[in-house]
Structures are given as structure tokens and as C-alpha cells.
């Protein structure tokens, strides 16, 4: 019986500073026999033995298997310890877990991607997959918002994304500090949907960000004509095992770790607590 709790050692081979508190780590398994096969939107459990373990979405493209990336906001006890590591350090990895974005059902379809803050992380693998297999997908629009310009992640890749045919990137921030040049939009991310040129009737929408943001995005998308079944959200919950044993990540009868983290809007609507539906 293979023990699913065992982590495999992986070496940090790259660290890129995204924002003051967010970094992207490149990892490679020491045992190179097995690369990481995954679907964008899935996550790994990453361990610093002696400190703890947590779920982090895989942010690299699934076409690149021998190494993979995690973009992590360094704010908790585990992630602050991760922040002290450098290239060459070893971490423990097990995964991938979760369902990921429904990549197969969106082949040849137009996709609107809406993200807030570090919520762009679980969508980056999908964006880069589309860029690498451009002919397999329809038009792509990325609507990305954050608090301030220096909270935006993956800024070094925006040029590449904009250069991809029929891929459009729209940016907005809540607040522009004095003296900072900001040629893009200002305001909530919902406003960006007004720039969309995608015909919503047969398009898909993928979103990740704070639940309050996703509530408003979902409502705007539905008003614009997106089918509820074509709207997907990646949800966050506390997880410790990643395989529906520890019980922590439950929302009603669903385990975010195995039934999610990506849920369709009708699935979320069926959950208690009116997660993405209550707008008064």
C-alpha cells in the first residue's frame, strides 16, 4: 500500500520575487524519474519538515513536467519559514491534489479569466498552457485587479501574454499611490468586464480571488449572459491532508480538497452559506 502522506524531496532551483510578500519558487524532484503530471488549478501539499505543511496551487504550465512552480504569499508561519530558504534548499512535496480547471471542456472555447490579487496564481498555469497550445483554445481575456500596482503578480509575463494572438489582458487597481505612474484602470475588477469583446453565450469564465469579489464577478457575468454552468471558481479552505481525511476543508457536504478546489457556479449555489450568491 503506497503511503499517500509521504512527501518526496524537491529542490528549490529558482526564486523570483513577485511582490514585497509574494515569491514564485521553482521546484524539481530529486528523483527525476517522475516529473509532476497535473492539471492547471490543482495543488500540491508542500512541507517544511519540522514546521508544517500546506496546500499551494501549482502555477507553472502543465506542459513542463520536470520542474514546476508555486507562487506563494509569505504571510503565515509555514510560508514565512519558506521565505528563509534559498536556492538549493530541499522541501517536501506530495501531490497533485484537487480537480483543477475543466481544461478539456474549454477546448476551442472563449474564456474570460477574472482574478484578484494572489488569486491569479492558480490561473497562470492555464494562461501559459493556452499560450503554448494557442490553436486549441478560443479568445482569452484576462481581467486582473489588485489593491495597488505593486501588489500585481507575474508582471514580467504581461508582455508575453499580450503578444499571444487573441489574448487580451486588462488591469485595474483599487488605489494608485502618489507619484506612481499607472496607465491602466482604477477601480474594482468587475469594471473590467465592460471591456470584454467575447460573446458570453458560449464562453466560459474562470475566477479566483476573495469570495466577496467572486460574488460580484459571478453576478456581473450572469447579467452579461454567461451560462451559470460555464462559470467556475477556485475556492480556498484550510487543508491539512489534501485527500478528504482530516475534515477541515468541508463546505457543507463537499470537500474542497477532492471535490474542488474548482467548483462550477451551480455547484457553489447548492452549498450552504450562500457563498457566491448572497448580494443584498
Amino acid at each position: 500500500m503506497k503511503n499517500p502522506y509521504i512527501v518526496e524531496p524537491a529542490v528549490i532551483t529558482g526564486i523570483r520575487q513577485e511582490t514585497a510578500e509574494t515569491k514564485t519558487y521553482t521546484l524539481e524532484f530529486i528523483e527525476q524519474k517522475r516529473g509532476l503530471e497535473f492539471i492547471p488549478g490543482q495543488f500540491n501539499m508542500i512541507s517544511l519538515l519540522g514546521i508544517g505543511e500546506g496546500p499551494f496551487s501549482i502555477t507553472s504550465s502543465p506542459l513542463q513536467r520536470n520542474k514546476f512552480e508555486h507562487t506563494i504569499r509569505l504571510v503565515g508561519s509555514l510560508t514565512k519559514a519558506l521565505d528563509r530558504l534559498s536556492i538549493g534548499s530541499t522541501v517536501g512535496v506530495r501531490g497533485p491534489y484537487g480537480n483543477g480547471w475543466p481544461v478539456d471542456s474549454v477546448k476551442n472555447k472563449d474564456i474570460v479569466i477574472v482574478a484578484g490579487g494572489v488569486g491569479l496564481a492558480p490561473l497562470r498555469g492555464l494562461i501559459n498552457l493556452v499560450a503554448e497550445q494557442r490553436d486549441d483554445f478560443g479568445e482569452i481575456e484576462i481581467m486582473y485587479g489588485s489593491r495597488k500596482p505593486d501588489n500585481l503578480i507575474f508582471t514580467s509575463e504581461y508582455g508575453n501574454w499580450r503578444a499571444v494572438p487573441n489574448m487580451r489582458l486588462f488591469l485595474t487597481v483599487d488605489e494608485v499611490p502618489k507619484g506612481i505612474e499607472w496607465p491602466y484602470e482604477q477601480g474594482v475588477v468587475t469594471n473590467l468586464l465592460g471591456f470584454s469583446r467575447i460573446d458570453p453565450s458560449n464562453a466560459f469564465a474562470f475566477m479566483c480571488g476573495p469570495e466577496i469579489m467572486m460574488r460580484f464577478i459571478a453576478r456581473s457575468l450572469i447579467i452579461r449572459g454567461f451560462a451559470e454552468k460555464n462559470i467556475f471558481a477556485s475556492l480556498e479552505r484550510r487543508m491539512e491532508c489534501g485527500m478528504a481525511k482530516c475534515g477541515r476543508c468541508m463546505i457543507g457536504p463537499k470537500y474542497v480538497c477532492i471535490d474542488g478546489p474548482v467548483f462550477s457556479y451551480p455547484e457553489v449555489k447548492a452549498l450552504p452559506h450562500n457563498l457566491l450568491t448572497a448580494i443584498s
Binding site: 500500500m1 502522506y5 519540522g50 508544517g52 530541499t90 484550510r238 485527500m243 478528504a244 457543507g252 477532492i258
Partner: protein
């Protein structure tokens, strides 16, 4: 195997001795005026009635603390898994508790199997004991998880007026009793079993007022019923109900490093969805900060969601949550425990209007 053979057992001692030969054996033994699962020896006197032990036997299959693995630093890290080879016997486990183990089997089984639970489970001999009486807080008859066990045992004991009926339910059970050369039970013995268990059933007065198949709809419709408010306001969020529950399985994973800082262990430890920190993430964001959300989560998970997830209900009617809940407010003219699923369902049957104008005793306290 066809031979669900029924044997006649004069006294328990010879069976205990036979089980002890090859198994680390636990049984419900008297302790401080209650019963508790403890290791037994040939002199022990495990209770064969409705032994609603203080804690269920789940800690034997899923210990309160267990080492998932130990690790050693140096050139990265090395991991060592613990060895779990011991054969275990649960001697005198009640039908409700066997049913709770069937639910845990589905939690720790599934697509990704928890190897620690399963190694213990596969090495476990179930010597169950039917309940010829049912404790006051129990409502096993509502789920048909007691007082009689129909299957999923290796051996099954039923206390008769003179001696015991011993039924064999598996080759594992057959192996244990083969050496004892016990006489076959007669039809009279089987008849007495039926009479005794029917009497126990009839004597069980406590009943869930909603049919099990209807609970999912019932609770869904009443998710925002006002009765949740006074119930959860009086809850201490102590977690006793979940610790005492035989199907509660949630745990925490934490690491400990020895002072040398070169070795450590990763452990799992029982946890409770009733505790404030249970669903907390970085930045102190908490997905179930409100006590009412935690209270509802436990109740509905037990009575409905676990059935949706695993096909088996998360309540077996043992009544332990009722007994160990420290909050026994006087409600509805009766003294009753707050954790009691029967009482919660009864409250939810009331029309919403009945709760209008009821003062919330504690306000909204996390």
C-alpha cells in the same frame, strides 16, 4: 462463507483466553462508575450489556495522537514510516459502535487510503456483543444500528439467561473458536436471542422524530430555521460531542522536532470542528468563525452530509454526545443536552414563528 454457525458458550473466560492468544485485546471495562475501552487480560470482566463506553473504540483504530512518520535531516531529509503489525481485538463492541467503524472505513478508505487506519483495521478482530438492554440516551433503533448487529462481525455474542450465544461471522472468527470445540446452539437459544433483542428494541423509547431517509430534505429546508440560534447560543463550543462521537474523524497534522533539531516526527492528532481555530487560515481569516456555523456543521454533517459523502449516516444513535455535552439547559419543559440530535431535530420541527421575539441569551459570540 455460508456457515454463520451459532454456538453455545458457557462463560466468557474461555473465549477471552482464545482471543488473547493472538490479539492485543480491548474491551469495555468498568472505570469510575462508567465503562472505558481498556486492554483486557484473562482475569478481566468485560461488560456485555449496552456498554456505552465514555469514549468509543475509535481511538484504537485512529489513535488520539499517532506518528505518521519520523524524519531525519541531513542531505535533505529521510523519512521512516512506523510499523503497525499488531493484531487487535475489540471484545464486546456494541452494534452501534461496529456501525460507526463501517462509516470510518469509508472515510479512511476511498480512492486515497489512509494506511495507518487500514493496517490496524485489517488486523482487527471484531467480537461484537448484541445489546439486550439499551441505555437511556441511545436511539440506535431509529437508524437500525442496534440493539442487534446483523453482519460485519467476526464473532457475535448475545447474552442469554444462561450463558451466551456465540455466532461466527467470518473465517477470522472461525479460526478463533475452532480450537474451543463449542457445542452447537439449539433453536431455543436462537429464539431466546430474538425475544431478548425484541424486548430491548421495544424498551428503547428515544426516537428520532424524522425518518432517516427524510433527514436530508428536512435539514436542507431548515438550514436557516431560527431554532439554530438559541441552540448554538447555549453551546460552549467545547468539542466534547465530537470527541465522544464514534464517527467523528477530523484531525490535525503537526510536526515536532527534538531538541537536537536533527530528528522529528509528523503526528496526527484528533481535532474538533467545534473549536474556533479549526477552519482558520493565514491572516486569521476563519471560514467558520461563528459558533452557529460550527454548531450547524456538526449537526448536519452527522445527520445528512456524511450520508451524501459516504452513503452511511454519521450518527449511530449511541447517545455519547448527549451524555458528554456540558450544556444541559432546560428547554421545552424538559432537561436535555444541547448536543442531542433528537432534541435538535425536534426543535427544528417547530414552526419558525414560535421563535419570534425569543431573546438570544448570549448574543453573537464566536
Amino acid at each position: 462463507m455460508k456457515s454463520k454457525s451459532a454456538l453455545r458458550l458457557e462463560n466468557l473466560d474461555i473465549l477471552i483466553e482464545a482471543v488473547l492468544q493472538k490479539h492485543l485485546t480491548y474491551g469495555p471495562l468498568a472505570k469510575d462508575g462508567e465503562y472505558a475501552w481498556q486492554k483486557i487480560d484473562p482475569k478481566s470482566n468485560p461488560y456485555m450489556g449496552c456498554a456505552v463506553t465514555m469514549l468509543p473504540a475509535k481511538h484504537i483504530l485512529q489513535p488520539v495522537w499517532q506518528d505518521i512518520y519520523s524524519f531525519k535531516f541531513g542531505n535533505g531529509f529521510q523519512i521512516k514510516e512506523p510499523e503497525l503489525a499488531e493484531k487487535i481485538a475489540l471484545f464486546g463492541i456494541s452494534p452501534c459502535d461496529v456501525n460507526s467503524i463501517l462509516a470510518l472505513d469509508r472515510v479512511f478508505g476511498g480512492r486515497l487510503i489512509d494506511p495507518y487506519y487500514w493496517k490496524r483495521r485489517e488486523n482487527t478482530l471484531i467480537v461484537a456483543a448484541n445489546c439486550t438492554e439499551v441505555a437511556g440516551e441511545s436511539f440506535c433503533t431509529s437508524w437500525d444500528t442496534g440493539p442487534e448487529l446483523y453482519s460485519n462481525y467476526d464473532l457475535l455474542i448475545t447474552e442469554l439467561s444462561d450463558g451466551y450465544l456465540l455466532e461466527v461471522g467470518s473465517p477470522k472468527g472461525e479460526d478463533v473458536v475452532a480450537v474451543l470445540n463449542l457445542p452447537k446452539a439449539t433453536q431455543d437459544h436462537l429464539n431466546e436471542k430474538a425475544v431478548r433483542l425484541n424486548a430491548a428494541r421495544a424498551a428503547t423509547k428515544k426516537k428520532l422524530p424524522v425518518a432517516p431517509d427524510d433527514l436530508h430534505r428536512f435539514l436542507k429546508e431548515r438550514f436557516n430555521h431560527p431554532a439554530w440560534v438559541p441552540n448554538s447560543d447555549a453551546c460552549f463550543s467545547c468539542g466534547n460531542c465530537t470527541i465522544a462521537c464514534p464517527t467523528c474523524y477530523c484531525f490535525d497534522i503537526r510536526d515536532e522536532v527534538m531538541p537536537s533539531r536533527s530528528i522529528g516526527v509528523r503526528r496526527s492528532e484528533w481535532d474538533s470542528c467545534q473549536l474556533l481555530e479549526f477552519a482558520e487560515v493565514g491572516f486569521h481569516a476563519n471560514f467558520r468563525r461563528l459558533r452557529i456555523d460550527r454548531f450547524k456543521h456538526r449537526t448536519i454533517h452527522k445527520l445528512s452530509w456524511m450520508k451524501q459523502q459516504y452513503g452511511l449516516t454519521g450518527c449511530v444513535g449511541c447517545g455519547r454526545c448527549v451524555r458528554w455535552c456540558p450544556s444541559w439547559p432546560e428547554r421545552r419543559g424538559r432537561i436535555t443536552s444541547l448536543a442531542d440530535p433528537v432534541e435538535i431535530v425536534t426543535d427544528l420541527m417547530e414552526p419558525s414563528e414560535r421563535y419570534e421575539g425569543i431573546e438570544r441569551p448570549g448574543g453573537v459570540i464566536a
